[in-house]
């Protein structure tokens, strides 16, 4: 008998008959058996959320046919949840103070379980290796490592004292709470979000006709639908709409497809044709004038010519999804992360004044102290407004569109695929032959034809040569990350602290100090959680994270990356940006990097970024509530924009953050909002901002300035 119409599976020790052999295990678990602890997330085998155990080994259930799994023993998170031995492990995860959406968690616990089975006392390195197949969109990796270590110790202590294990504290891993993807409300519609393919463009037109005719489609919503007075009951908010007409960054939502199933919604997205037009360059610096800012916004502004008011309704980080349902003026909202304060501000401050009652529930992974998550996404806002428009419950599926998800995934997946810190691999990206400056070149060498030495060991070279070799542009955040990792690796080999080691390789004391400062400021490259808020301590950082994706790279080879670091002084009397460095870094192709580096003298962004007068904050965790807050963002400019900056300069001039991009502005506002809230306990809906000083290395200055 070779032909198989159905196969039997062994799931959690129970026989499950009559499964179609070509079904995926994850579908059988979730759809047929309603074992919802196993999550379905990326569906391409990249994220590890669907991990289960097959004969005791972790495997991806989204890449496994039932036919391949028959005759083998499958174990899901539900079995672990009822297993006293695994209780310590699950408890270690649920008692951590990491506020995440929880989508990846059951997979992580499964891999951790397999690890602890094989090795009850793993080292951190081994834990990293074992968890390297998991992508946490909320960047909780360090928490996971801590949790596994804790569980290993706890289990060890447990077996020594022979105490009975406690019951699992959290319900989420057992699949008993309702995750966004598990909701089954009657009449629920599924929404998928179309992100912009390009940055720095306007949407010249959206053709949704074909998409509207696609099977199962209920509506295709664009900015036009979202900007109606009737919906918001007030005039549209000053920033326009939740859906963009002017696109600042890749992945910015431009349309939503709502359909009966997620597959139909995604299919409809593929039929939407968007016509992009380059944003007119002359308008660009003026674009963010906020001419129609609401009246109350400027109440505290100090200097009208410098003031920037901004209403925050956009957010950057990967989306966790949301489900919204209106009954009259009553709104039920389920979000993966607690609606962050910006969403609250956006939704309930101005959009929906007629709201009578709000029921919000947070499906996410509740930290022990119940603190809200700061995972930013406007999924909740999109779901609420779509639901209002269509008068049906709407689910914006987790990670089904979202904001910057793919680039963020790229970054983190790079992090995860370099568990060994195999950094020299990536560092070859840095081509020594094209270094813009060679400070070590002696005069005799400059006379003859330059003979670049063969690049023997890139890591070594990075450590010993001028930091000019470290170029970070918007497409190579991952490279930056990896370079940092390689430095760490090399340092470990030399048994030194990475920074100390690197400094020991630099002879020139001025350069050494610059690097020391830069490393201090950019420690976030080596610490994943520096990217986002992952704990209460870090919540106040207000990190804005922006990426430009690969499409942007293709669209604009001359694209320029801008790195903005803002230090916010939170003395509430004068909310001001204490110090700010705007840094242009060169674009994607090496030649233009070098050319621009020569023009501006800013050849190595990392080290240059820390030119600032204010004393740097040593440890953000230690920073007092009224201290300094740092927000960082990165965005892209096109060539005309850069020319504008070069031609007109920014130092001392009117400079609106919006004029760089609203992502930058929002990053700044994020930091401000956090600062204000921490200092006053108030939730700001609009913020006055004054740019005290923007330090800018103009080409002229840089030419005479110190070479770093």
């Amino acid at each position: 008998m070779t032909m198989q119409d159905s196969v039997d599976l062994d799931i959690n020790g129970k026989r499950v008959p009559d499964c179609a052999p070509t079904s995926l295990i994850v579908d059988i678990l979730r759809n047929d058996l309603r074992l919802l602890g196993t999550k379905k997330s990326c569906e391409t085998g990249a994220c590890g959320a669907c991990t289960i155990l097959i004969d005791g080994l972790p495997a991806l259930s989204c890449k496994l046919f039932a036919g391949s799994a028959s005759g083998r023993s499958l174990t899901t998170i539900e079995a672990l949840a009822s297993d006293p031995e695994s209780a310590r492990l699950i408890e270690a995860f649920t008692s951590s103070d990491f506020p995440g959406c929880g989508d990846c968690l059951s997979g992580v616990i499964i891999s951790a379980k397999a690890l602890l089975e094989a090795d009850p006392a793993p080292s951190v390195f081994e834990i990293k290796l074992a968890l390297s197949g998991h992508l946490c969109r909320c960047v909780g990796h360090e928490f996971f490592i801590e949790a596994v270590s804790k569980a290993a110790n706890s289990i060890k202590a447990d077996s020594a004292s022979r105490e009975t294990a406690p019951q699992p504290a959290g319900l989420l891993p057992s699949g008993k709470t309702t995750a966004i993807q598990d909701v089954l409300w009657p009449g629920l519609l599924e929404a998928a979000v179309l992100g912009s393919r390009f940055a720095g463009t306007t949407i010249a037109g959206i053709d949704t006709r074909r998409a509207k005719l696609a099977p199962g489609v209920v509506a295709i919503l664009t900015a036009e639908d979202f900007a109606t007075d009737a919906i918001f009951k007030l005039r549209p908010p000053s920033h326009g709409s939740l859906l963009a007409t002017t696109v600042s960054y890749v992945g910015e939502p431009v349309a939503i497809a709502v359909a009966d199933t997620l597959e139909h919604a995604k299919h409809a997205l593929s039929l939407i044709e968007v016509e992009y037009a380059a944003a007119p360059a002359p308008e660009w610096p003026r674009k963010a004038g906020f001419a129609d800012a609401p009246d109350q916004a400027c109440a505290r502004s100090h200097d009208p010519s410098n003031a920037v008011s901004c209403r925050v309704a956009r957010a950057f980080l990967p989306s966790g999804g949301a489900v919204a349902s209106w009954q009259g003026n009553r709104l039920s909202l389920l979000t993966a992360a607690a609606p962050n304060r910006y969403e609250h501000a956006a939704l309930f401050g101005s959009f929906l004044p007629g709201l009578d009652e709000l029921q919000t529930e947070w499906s996410g992974f509740a930290p022990a102290n119940g603190a809200p998550s700061d995972i930013r996404s406007n999924d909740a806002a999109l779901a609420v407004v779509s639901s209002l428009l269509l008068d049906r419950p709407v689910r914006v599926h987790p990670h089904a569109g979202g904001l910057g998800f793919r680039p963020a995934q790229r970054l983190i997946s790079t992090a995860r695929t370099y568990p060994h810190g195999q950094l020299e691999n990536v560092a070859v990206e840095v081509d020594a032959d094209l270094r813009p400056t060679a400070p070590s070149t002696s005069p005799s060498e400059t006379n003859g034809a330059p003979q670049p030495e063969p690049q023997r060991n890139v890591t070594h070279e990075l450590l010993t040569e001028t930091p000019a070799t470290v170029l970070i542009d918007h497409s190579s955040e991952e490279v930056a990350f990896c370079i940092q990792q390689s430095l760490d690796m090399a340092a470990r080999e030399h048994q030194q602290d990475p920074l100390t080691f690197r400094l020991s390789q630099v002879k020139d004391p001025t350069t050494a100090k610059t690097i020391a400062d830069a490393a201090k400021a950019f420690g976030w490259h080596s610490k994943w959680r520096g990217w986002t808020h992952t704990s209460n301590e870090r919540r106040r950082r207000g990190v804005g994270l922006a990426f430009a994706g690969e499409e942007a790279v293709d669209a604009a080879r001359n694209a320029i990356a801008v790195f903005v670091e803002v230090q916010v002084d939170t003395d509430i009397g004068t909310i001001s940006l204490g110090d700010c460095t705007v840094l242009v870094m060169t674009g994607t192709d090496l030649e233009s990097r070098v050319r621009l580096a020569a023009q501006t003298g800013i050849s190595h962004g990392v080290e240059t970024a820390l030119i600032r007068e204010a004393a740097p904050v040593d440890d953000l965790n230690e920073a007092p509530a009224t201290g300094h807050y740092i927000s960082r963002s990165m965005t892209t400019l096109d060539a005309p924009q850069v020319e504008y900056i070069f031609a007109n300069g920014i130092a001392g001039a009117e400079f609106s953050f919006k004029s760089v991009s609203d992502r930058v502005a929002a990053a700044v506002v994020g930091a401000l909002a956090n600062a204000v809230r921490d200092a006053t306990g108030l939730l700001p809906t609009t913020l006055p901002m004054t740019v005290d000083r923007v330090r800018w290395s103009s080409p002229g200055e840089a030419a005479t300035g110190q070479s770093l």
């Binding site: 070779t2 052999p21 080994l57 989204c62 046919f65 391949s68 197949g133 139909h264 070859v428 690969e550």
Partner: protein
């Protein structure tokens, strides 16, 4: 939509190779070992295939023999993880070991197979790069007999494997390395520069030295991710043979490989960019392979260890 793709097509589980070959000869049929590739791209699979032939129930497709004197043999159902954990693969076929260690995620390694990776013919899949440098060969059963095909002759220019309907790849293997030989593999993950760019670039080398460890007696260099199929860089290998095993030689071989790459896949920004990567990458794998070739190990001792342990030591 869920229901529409709920059942893809026929699922066959033959118990003999002959049956598998018979099924594989039919149109719209695909063989499944680990199933990662097909399950991962299920929608495409549904449109391309209507019959799936699962090889799992066929006996004899799961060997993993790695003997320093007899060579390496990896069955069609042997997973990447099993190869990755094999002590002797790590010792004597280090390039393959390194490739498996960097393969995807730990979960994928537990189901994906080496042969599946090689037969998928995807330019990003790099088991073939390491195996190419190790002069691997495949055993292919065509319904009546088993033939042996060199991996270097296995791919069309388009990157598709040269298999005809009815062919079943039963194993992939490599000859035993010379006593004073070593191999290495390295891969670089890249940012995509253009649509359809291959975001992985890999290199592998096998180097055999004379007993004194000073002169290169035999060499292969392979590159993956620069063309639809992994390629042997013959020019670099020719350059290496007979040369002293010193850094200058490795650097020159890197330059030769870079030049050869430009000659074989044309010019342009993309090529230029990969060519720049090729030089240090090739140089480094050669250097690493030479270092391994010189490392102190006694092949006889290896063999006696093997006899004692049975060759299946899964210890790290």
């Amino acid at each position: 939509m869920q229901d529409e793709v709920g059942v893809l097509g026929q699922w066959l589980q033959p118990r003999t190779l002959a049956d598998a070959s018979k099924f594989a000869a039919q149109d719209g049929t695909v063989l499944i070992a680990g199933g990662c590739e097909l399950a991962g791209r299920r929608d495409q699979s549904a449109s391309r295939f209507d019959t799936f032939v699962n090889l799992r129930n066929i006996a004899g497709l799961r060997p993993l023999d790695a003997h320093p004197k007899k060579g390496l043999r990896i069955g069609a159902l042997t997973t990447v993880g099993e190869v990755s954990n094999h002590l002797w693969v790590a010792k004597r076929w280090a390039a393959l070991h390194e490739a498996t260690e960097q393969f995807s995620s730990p979960q994928a390694r537990n189901t994906a197979t080496i042969v599946g990776n090689v037969c998928a013919g995807h330019p990003c899949y790099d088991m073939a790069t390491a195996l190419l440098a190790l002069r691997a060969n495949l055993q292919i059963f065509n319904g009546t007999a088993v033939s042996t095909v060199e991996l270097s002759a296995f791919y069309h220019g388009s990157g598709r494997p040269k298999l005809v309907p009815g062919d079943v790849v039963t194993s992939i293997g490599a000859p035993p390395p010379e006593p004073d030989a070593g191999s290495a593999f390295r891969k670089v993950r890249l940012m995509r520069r253009q649509p359809h760019d291959i975001p992985i670039f890999s290199a592998a080398a096998y180097i055999a030295l004379d007993p004194k460890g000073t002169t290169i007696m035999d060499a292969t260099v392979a590159l993956g991710g620069c063309a639809p199929a992994p390629q042997l860089v013959v020019d670099a290998a020719i350059h290496l043979v007979g040369m002293p095993a010193i850094p200058e030689t490795f650097e020159q071989a890197g330059q030769v490989a870079a030049a050869s790459l430009a000659a074989s896949i044309g010019t342009g920004a993309l090529v230029d960019y990969k060519r720049r990567l090729a030089r240090p990458l090739v140089r480094d794998v050669i250097e690493q392979a030479v270092s391994r070739a010189r490392s102190k190990h006694d092949p006889f001792e290896d063999a006696s260890d093997l006899l004692r342990d049975g060759g299946n030591d899964n210890a790290r």
